[in-house]
C-alpha cells in the first residue's frame, strides 16, 4: 500500500494542502469580507469596554483593603483613560448599529451590541441614553438577549441610581451634611424597597438562575448601594452607623451571605478576602436570609 501510492500521495498531499489553504482562504475572505466586519467591530468594542471596566474596578477596589484604597475621584488621569475606553467602545458600536441591524439580527448578536452600547453610555455618564438603549434592547432584540445581558440591563436603572446617589452624597460631604430631607431622598433611591436600587437589582437577579456567575457582580452592586447609603447615614446622623435594626443594613447582611455562598460555588480563590472587604467597608457581617 505504502509503496504503490507513495509518490501519488505526496503529490496529492501537496495539492490538497495548497488547495485547502487557497480555497478556504478564498471562501473565508469571500464570506468574511462583507459580514464578519460587523462581528469584528463588536469584538473591538468588547475589548475596549473590558479594558476600561477592568481599570475602573482595579482603581475602586483591587487592593481589597478599604483602609488603604484611595477614592477614584482623586485619580483624574486614570479617569480619562477609562472614559476614553468606553468612548472607543461606543465608536465601534456606532459603526455597525443601526446600519448593520439586519445582519446583526441574522447573526443573533444584536442583543450583545445593544448591551455594550447601553453599558458604555452608562459609564460615560449619559444615563438617559443608557436607559433608552436598554429599552430598545428589550423592544428590538428581546429574543436575542442572553442571560447575563438580560440581568444586567434589568439592573441598569438601579446601577444608575447608585451613581446619582453617590453624586448627591459627595455634595453632602462638601458641607450639605445634616439635611435629613436629602438623606431621605437618598434612602429612597438606594433602598431595598420598591423603587430603590437594591430592589431593582434584586429583581434583576431573579431573572437568572441563582447559580449564574453574574450574581457575583449584581450582589456587589447591591453592597455598593448599601455602602453609599451608609455614608449618607453617617453624614446625616452625626457620624453614627445605621443600627442593627436598620432594614437596609439587614438586607445588606443577607446579600453579603449570598455573596459568600455563590463565591464558594464557583470556588474562586480570594473568596475570604472579597467578603472581608465588604465586611470591613460596610461594617456588616454575613447573615442568613430568613
Amino acid at each position: 500500500m505504502k509503496n504503490n501510492s507513495n509518490s501519488l500521495n505526496q503529490k496529492s498531499q501537496i495539492v490538497i494542502n495548497v488547495f485547502i489553504v487557497v480555497t478556504l482562504f478564498s471562501c473565508i475572505t469571500g464570506c468574511f469580507d462583507t459580514t464578519i466586519t460587523s462581528v469584528n467591530h463588536l469584538r473591538e468594542a468588547q475589548v475596549a469596554f473590558n479594558e476600561s471596566a477592568t481599570l475602573e474596578n482595579e482603581y475602586q477596589m483591587s487592593t481589597l483593603d478599604p483602609l488603604t484604597t484611595k477614592e477614584m475621584g482623586n485619580e483624574v488621569g486614570n479617569t480619562i483613560a477609562i472614559q476614553n475606553g468606553y468612548a472607543s467602545a461606543l465608536l465601534s458600536i456606532n459603526k455597525i448599529y443601526p446600519s448593520e441591524s439586519v445582519q446583526l439580527k441574522n447573526d443573533k448578536i444584536l442583543g450583545n451590541v445593544l448591551f455594550i452600547k447601553a453599558m458604555a453610555q452608562w459609564r460615560i455618564g449619559d444615563f438617559e441614553s443608557a436607559l433608552g438603549t436598554a429599552d430598545l434592547a428589550l423592544q428590538e432584540a428581546q429574543d436575542l438577549l442572553y442571560p447575563r445581558d438580560t440581568a444586567v440591563l434589568a439592573a441598569l436603572p438601579g446601577l444608575i441610581k447608585i451613581d446619582l446617589a453617590f453624586k448627591e452624597i459627595k455634595k453632602m460631604e462638601e458641607g450639605a451634611g445634616g439635611d435629613l430631607n436629602i438623606f431621605s431622598e437618598i434612602d429612597r433611591r438606594l433602598s431595598y424597597k420598591e423603587g430603590g436600587a437594591v430592589n431593582d437589582i434584586r429583581k434583576a437577579r431573579a431573572k437568572v438562575n441563582k447559580g449564574h456567575e453574574v450574581n457575583i457582580y449584581l450582589i456587589q452592586a447591591q453592597l455598593s448601594a448599601y455602602r453609599n447609603y451608609q455614608v449618607a447615614y453617617q453624614l446625616s446622623h452625626n457620624t453614627h452607623n445605621p443600627p442593627e435594626t436598620d432594614k437596609n443594613k439587614k438586607e445588606a447582611q443577607y446579600n453579603l451571605k449570598d455573596l459568600e455562598d455563590i463565591l464558594n460555588v464557583f470556588a474562586k480563590t480570594g473568596i475570604k478576602n472579597l467578603v472581608n472587604y465588604w465586611k470591613s467597608l460596610c461594617l456588616i457581617v454575613p447573615d442568613i436570609r430568613p
Partner: protein, 614 residues
C-alpha cells in the same frame, strides 16, 4: 483509498467550503458568549474616620478593644486612648485626633485579620490577591456553566468533520470504525482535540487540516494502526500539544497590533502550514520509534511536564517560526522527519538535554549549528542540514559529558558542531586556480566524511580533544593536508567517491597511530606525505600507459591506499618510511611497465621487504 488526483481535489474543495461556513458560524458564536468585565457603580470605596468611629463603637467589631472584652475566645484589655477619643464629640475632634483614630483603626483591623488568618506575615507588601484573581470576580460569561445552548467551536467543526469523514469513508470504510485499527487512531485524534480550549480568535482551518493529515498519515504508517493503546496515546498527545501550540500562536498573531489584516492572515497561514508539517512528520517519524519504547517516550517529561514527544515537536516548531524565519528554507517534510527521529532518539537516551536546559537544548543546538553552517556557502540547505543535525545529535549522545560539556548554561556549545563545521568547511572550500582537482562533493559525500569524523571523535576523542575539553588542531590539520594533496595531484580521473575514500582512509590511519600527525623536516604531516607519494605517482601525467591502465581503477587506488597505510602504521613513521614507500610504488609501476600484472599481493610483498616486521 482515494488515489485519483482529480477526485482528491474535488474532495478538498467540498471540504474547504463546508469548513469555511462552519468556521464563520463558530466565530460568531464565540463572540456572543465572550466574557465581559462588568464595572461597578461609583461608591465610597475607602474607609475614613467616620468608619473608624463606627468600627470602635460596634460590639461585633472593635468595641472590645476600647472597653476590654473577648473576641473569639481571646481577651483584650481596653484602650484608654481609644476611650478618650470616642468620648469626645466628633465635631470637636481635631485633625490629629482623627488621624490617630484612623491609624488605630488600621492597627486593630490588622489584628482582626491576623486572627482570622487573612494576613500572611511572609507576604509583606504583596497584594492580598493577584490581579488575575481579582479580575476573575468581575469577568462574567454569558451563560452559566453547562447551560450554553450554542455548540462550541469544536463541536461545530466536529459536525463538519463528520461530513468530511463520510466522504472519505466511502473509499476507506474501516477508517471510521472505532473498533478497527484505523478507527482507533482517528478516535485518538478527535478525543485530543476535544480537550483543547481553542482561544476565541478567528477560527482557523487547523483542526480540519490536522484531521486530513491524520487520516493520510495513519494509513501510511502501519505501526500507528496496531491498535495498541500506546499508539493511540501517542496520536492523542501529538495532536494536543501541537494544536495547542499553533492555536496559541494564532491567538498571539490576532492580538498583535503591529500587523495589519493581510499580514495577520499570512502569518496565520504560515503557522498552520508549519504546524501541519510538524504534525505529519512527528506522527510519521516518531511512530515506530516511540512504539518501540513507549514507556520512555511517552512518560519522560520535560521541564514543563510535556511528554517528550510533544516537547520535541513543539521545540522544532518554535525554532522554525521564531528564528526570524531563517530556518524555514532548510526544512522539508523529509528533513523534519530526520531531525525529529534523531532528536527523539537522543533525548530518549538523555532526557537531561531537555530538563537541564529548560527545553532550550535542542533549539539552541539546531540554531547554533545553522549559524555555523551559514558561514559557508551552500551548506545551509534542506539537502544537508537536517542530516547534519541528526549526526550531531546522535554522536553527541554517545558521550554527552564530553561533547556537550556546558549543556545547562551554554547549550549551543557542542564539540560535534565544531567538528562538523570544520569538516564541512574544509570539504566545501573553493579550489584555487592552480589546483588540478576540483571535485563537486555531493550531499552523501559530505555526510559520509562528516559522519566518519564524528565517529572518530566518539571512538578516539583523545587525539582530537585537548585537556581543556576543546578540539585541538589535529582534525583540521589532517583534513586540510589530505584535501590539499588531493587537489594538487588529483586529476579528472580521480572521482569524488575515491577522493572521499582517501580522506576516510587518512582519518582511520591517524586513529591507528597518533604519530601519523608528526611532521617531516619539510613541515609536511606524515599521513599526507604518504598519500602524496601514492597519488603523485598514480596520477602523474607521465605515468606509463600500461601502469595507468591497471592502476587507475577505483578498487586499486583504494586498495593501495589502505594497504600502504596499514603497513606504515607498523614502522617508525619518519622520512625514511616515506622514502621507502616511494621506492615501493616506483618499483610496482616499473614492473607494470615491463608487462607484469599488478596485484595487491605483490604490493604487500614489496612493502614487507621494505618494512620487514621485527
Amino acid at each position: 483509498m482515494i488515489t485519483d488526483s482529480a477526485t482528491l481535489m474535488l474532495f478538498a474543495i467540498r471540504s474547504a467550503v463546508k469548513l469555511g461556513q462552519q468556521a464563520r458560524i463558530a466565530y460568531v458564536d464565540s463572540t456572543r458568549r465572550r466574557e465581559i468585565v462588568l464595572p461597578l457603580s461609583n461608591f465610597f470605596n475607602s474607609s475614613g474616620f467616620m468608619d473608624a468611629l463606627g468600627y470602635f463603637r460596634d460590639p461585633k467589631f472593635g468595641k472590645p478593644y476600647v472597653e476590654g472584652g473577648h473576641i473569639d475566645g481571646q481577651e483584650y484589655e481596653g484602650s484608654k486612648i481609644l476611650q478618650n477619643l470616642l468620648a469626645t464629640p466628633p465635631e470637636k475632634l481635631k485633625k490629629e485626633d482623627k488621624e490617630e483614630l484612623e491609624m488605630l483603626h488600621v492597627k486593630y483591623v490588622n489584628i482582626d485579620r491576623a486572627r482570622e488568618g487573612l494576613l500572611s506575615w511572609e507576604k509583606g507588601d504583596e497584594p492580598i490577591i493577584s490581579s488575575e484573581e481579582f479580575e476573575a470576580f468581575f469577568s462574567i460569561s454569558q451563560w452559566r456553566s453547562g447551560a450554553d445552548p450554542t455548540p462550541s467551536a469544536l463541536h461545530r467543526m466536529a459536525g463538519t468533520f463528520l461530513e468530511i469523514g463520510i466522504d472519505y469513508a466511502i473509499n476507506t470504510p474501516d477508517l471510521f470504525d472505532k473498533n478497527s485499527k484505523k478507527g482507533k487512531a482517528i478516535y485518538s485524534f478527535l478525543s485530543a482535540l476535544d480537550d483543547i480550549d481553542f482561544p476565541e480568535t478567528a477560527l482557523s482551518e487547523l483542526p480540519a487540516r490536522l484531521f486530513v493529515a491524520t487520516m493520510e498519515t495513519v494509513t501510511e504508517n502501519i505501526e500507528l494502526l496496531s491498535g495498541d493503546p500506546k499508539a493511540q496515546e501517542f496520536i492523542k498527545i501529538t495532536t494536543r500539544e501541537i494544536s495547542t501550540n499553533v492555536a496559541q500562536r494564532i491567538n498571539d498573531i490576532n492580538n498583535d497590533s503591529g500587523l495589519d489584516a493581510i499580514a495577520k492572515r499570512e502569518a496565520r497561514l504560515k503557522v498552520q502550514d508549519w504546524g501541519e508539517l510538524l504534525y505529519r512528520s512527528t506522527l510519521s517519524s516518531g511512530g515506530r520509534l516511540i512504539l518501540s519504547d513507549p514507556a520512555k517516550f511517552l512518560s519522560v517529561k520535560d521541564a514543563g511536564n510535556q511528554a517528550l514527544v510533544s516537547s520535541v515537536g513543539n521545540s522544532i516548531l518554535d525554532l522554525i517560526l521564531e528564528d526570524g524565519g531563517s530556518l524555514e528554507d532548510v526544512f522539508s517534510r523529509e528533513g523534519i522527519e530526520v531531525v525529529i527521529s534523531a532528536v527523539l532518539r537522543t533525548i530518549g537516551e538523555h532526557p537531561e538535554i531537555l530538563t537541564r536546559t529548560n527545553n532550550e537544548g535542542v533549539k539552541k543546538l539546531i540554531s547554533g549549528l545553522a549559524k555555523e553552517l551559514s558561514q559557508t556557502d551552500n551548506l545551509l540547505n534542506r539537502d544537508i542540514f537536517p542530516e547534519i543535525v541528526r549526526l550531531v545529535l546522535e554522536k553527541s549522545g554517545e558521550n554527552l559529558e564530553l561533547f556537550w560539556p556546558d549543556l545547562q548554561n551554554d547549550p549551543k556549545k557542542n564539540l560535534m558542531i565544531t567538528a562538523a563545521k570544520t569538516t564541512l568547511a574544509i570539504l566545501s572550500r573553493k579550489p584555487k586556480d592552480n589546483e588540478s582537482w576540483k571535485p563537486q562533493f555531493t550531499k552523501s559525500d559530505l555526510l559520509v566524511v562528516t559522519e566518519s569524523v564524528l565517529d572518530e571523535l566518539v571512538q578516539n576523542p583523545g587525539w582530537l580533544i585537548t585537556e581543556a575539553g576543546e578540539l585541538n588542531g589535529t582534525l583540521q590539520a589532517v583534513l586540510t593536508s589530505t584535501i590539499d594533496v588531493l587537489r594538487k595531484h588529483g586529476t579528472k580521473r580521480l572521482s569524488t567517491s575515491v577522493g572521499v575514500e582517501i580522506i576516510l582512509e587518512a582519518l582511520t590511519t591517524v586513529a591507528l597511530r597518533q604519530e601519523f600527525t608528526n611532521k617531516l623536516p619539510n613541515g609536511q604531516m606524515i599521513v599526507s606525505a604518504a598519500i602524496e607519494v601514492i597519488l603523485s605517482r598514480i596520477f602523474s601525467k607521465h605515468l606509463d600507459a600500461k601502469a595507468s591502465w591497471q592502476l587507475l581503477k577505483v578498487e586499486v587506488v583504494e586498495g593501495i591506499m589502505q594497504l600502504a597505510m596499514e603497513r606504515l602504521a607498523l614502522t617508525n613513521l619518519d622520512q625514511d618510511t616515506i622514502n621507502k614507500l616511494q621506492e615501493c610504488i616506483d618499483e610496482q609501476i616499473a614492473s607494470i611497465a615491463k608487462g607484469n600484472l599488478f596485484s595487491l599481493d605483490s604490493l604487500a610483498d614489496s612493502l614487507d621487504n621494505k618494512f620487514p616486521l621485527t
